[in-house]
């Protein structure tokens, strides 16, 4: 598993690891989706949205990217299936997915925001590691 839940009393704290930044951002996106929808089936995407976020540093970039994804899930009822991202100074790309279906996607809980609390994005021997709290 590339993301795991760590202990936190009120919210959800996750550790996410990946070999490169685009994968780290994609995995973070799937981590958010898993909180929102529970474990949901892999399906052929039916909808595609572009996604773009900026930030003064990588921490702000990941927070803004996940906030943008949260916005898409709430306004477009998007359940992500595939990310295609480029992460340099900004993050841009697409997220493909299916539309929310209560029968398949009601296993999770709402996320209010992406927190800067205890946020860390670090380089490791094998790539990158992110520790992040989702405020629920």
């Amino acid at each position: 598993m590339v993301f795991e839940e760590l202990e936190h009393t009120a919210d959800i704290r996750m550790k996410i690891s990946a070999a490169d930044l685009p994968s780290l951002f994609s995995e973070s996106g799937f981590a958010l989706a898993k909180i929102l929808y529970g474990a949901y089936p892999v399906e052929t995407p039916t909808d595609v949205f572009s996604i773009h976020a900026e930030g003064k540093d990588r921490e702000e970039l990941i927070v803004n990217f996940l906030s943008e994804l949260l916005f898409l899930t709430e306004t477009e009822y998007l359940v992500p299936q595939k990310f295609t991202l480029s992460v340099v100074d900004a993050v841009c790309g697409t997220v493909e997915g299916v539309l929310f279906d209560r029968k398949k996607h009601a296993g999770g809980t709402g996320v209010k925001g992406i927190s800067y609390s205890g946020l860390s994005l670090t380089r490791t021997k094998t790539g990158y590691e992110l520790i992040i709290i989702f405020d629920i």
């Binding site: 936190h8 009393t9 916005f71």
Partner: protein, 477 residues
């Protein structure tokens, strides 16, 4: 308890200045001896960090349901001087005006032969959980009116009665709302979610009043033993969350611009009368108004269902009161003998104004305002009254609930949702949620005991117990 903490009275403790560098005032918090064991170091540090913020008055305060939050601890209260003070989204939270209200009904337990059916009907009537959609179609113009006028706007649209409005804190609409500072994105999230319960710790509960502690005040509040009532706990949904996210970013730059030295990035803030501070205040007030409208619409859905199902009149289900948990407001308080207008941040705390305050409806002015404290799923909820003690000690504030002690992940590991639901059923409580995990995460034992939290605020004199309600049916978001 950390050995730097000083005990002031049985239930009152002080964090001395110097606990973290730069504290301008001490911290004070209220915990009974057994609740003291639940105090996390993280929450203590957060309480001390709040004391470093410019313009903070008297104390950084913690209520007995204190726990580790975002910026301020949950259960945190801070009042700020108008000239030197700041406003911070970290002192309000993502869910602006998350709050709770209660309506009473003329029904008793024997009038509800099938609680399971009632819970199922409520679950189907009130949009609940992730992905739920609003029962109403709001235009951008409708939303703007809602952001300005809150509960009043909802009543004008036909969701409620005129007499509901004064029964909301701030009459269901804060002054100073500035919809122009609510972003397009926030509006996009708000339009499809109006009149939805949300998820997490939000709930709708059918309860029975099972103990009256103060008969006279209960009568004033319109609460009687054996009565069925409905409690609704929710907030400003995605709209408020987006407002918090948007303004945090602005205020983070503002903190640097105004040279505010922050111990924690989450305490991003700006002077109260700076353009950034005023913009956040205006957007926050607008979100708070949306939340009051949201609770008003849900109340209407519940009342309509009860009218149809039990053949009672809509008017027979008055609103007892509606209180906000996550908000910053201008209020007049006595500070060291001087009457001053201060900005009180309440983050997971409830206003508990004592007798005589003009902000409280006339009928409650002798008793103090009703304070509604929800229990966790399966544990009792309470109605309290605000006191002079709260005015003296906590800028008119008290606890807001029971306070989490166990993480969601460990809750899920220890019991499944089905086990929790079955255990509650054995106590006569029916629970309905969009999924079983939502039930496990909110199991009664992941929270401090609501009875103990309420007893602590009662003993500390910052509110007083009036009545207790037992849950019968719970809809979890």
């Amino acid at each position: 308890m950390n050995d730097q903490i000083q005990q002031i009275t049985t239930n009152e403790w002080e964090i001395p200045r110097g606990f973290v560098p730069g504290m301008r005032v001490p911290g004070r918090f209220f915990l009974s001896k057994s609740l003291a064991e639940t105090l996390e170091d993280g929450a203590l540090t957060q309480l001390a960090n709040v004391a470093t913020l410019p313009g903070i008055l008297r104390y950084s305060l913690g209520m007995p349901d204190i726990h580790w939050g975002y910026g301020f601890p949950i259960g945190g209260v801070g009042a700020f001087d108008a000239d030197t003070g700041i406003i911070s989204p970290g002192g309000v939270g993502f869910d602006i005006n998350c709050g709770v209200r209660m309506i009473t009904t003329p029904l008793t337990v024997s009038d509800i032969p099938d609680m399971k059916e009632l819970v199922e009907d409520l679950f189907n009537a009130v949009p609940t959980g992730v992905g739920s959609k609003s029962p109403i179609r709001l235009s951008q113009k409708d939303l703007s009116s809602m952001l300005e006028d809150g509960a009043k706007n909802a009543v004008e649209m036909g969701y409620g009665m005129e007499c509901d409005i004064p029964r909301c804190e701030e009459n269901g609409a804060m002054d100073g709302a500035k919809p122009e500072h609510v972003s397009k994105k926030a509006r996009q999230r708000g339009i499809p979610q109006c009149g939805t319960l949300g998820s997490g710790n939000h709930f709708l509960e059918v309860q029975v009043v099972d103990d009256i502690v103060d008969e006279a005040t209960a009568k004033t509040f319109g609460v009687a033993k054996g009565q069925i009532c409905v409690m609704i706990h929710c907030g400003s949904r995605g709209l408020g969350h987006q407002v918090c996210t948007d303004h945090l970013q602005i205020l983070e730059s503002a903190s640097k611009k105004y040279g505010i030295d922050l111990p924690d990035r989450q305490l991003a803030c700006a002077p109260l009368f700076s353009p950034e501070g005023e913009a956040y205040f205006g957007a926050m007030a607008a979100s708070a108004n949306y939340a009051w409208a949201n609770r008003q619409i849900i109340t209407h859905i519940v009342r309509e269902l009860f009218v149809k199902k039990f053949r009672i009149a809509y008017e027979e289900m008055p609103l007892v009161y509606d209180v906000a948990h996550n908000v910053a407001k201008w209020e007049e308080h006595n500070v060291d003998g001087v009457r001053r207008n201060v900005c009180v941040h309440r983050k997971g705390a409830t206003r508990a104004f004592g007798p005589g305050r003009a902000e409280v409806p006339h009928e409650f002015r002798a008793s103090g305002q009703p304070v509604i404290i929800p229990g966790s799923m399966g544990t009792p909820s309470y109605i309290l009254a605000g006191t002079d003690g709260a005015m003296e000690k906590t800028f008119g504030s008290t606890c807001h609930g029971s306070g989490r002690v166990k993480s969601r992940s460990s809750a899920k590991k220890s019991q499944t949702g089905e086990e929790v639901a079955n255990a509650l059923l054995r106590q006569g409580i029916i629970v309905r949620a969009p999924n079983q995990a939502a039930i496990a995460e909110e199991a009664p034992d992941v929270y401090k005991s609501s009875s103990e939290v309420v007893q602590t605020v009662h003993d500390a004199g910052i509110s007083r117990i009036v009545a207790r309600m037992r849950p019968l049916g719970v809809i979890k978001g």
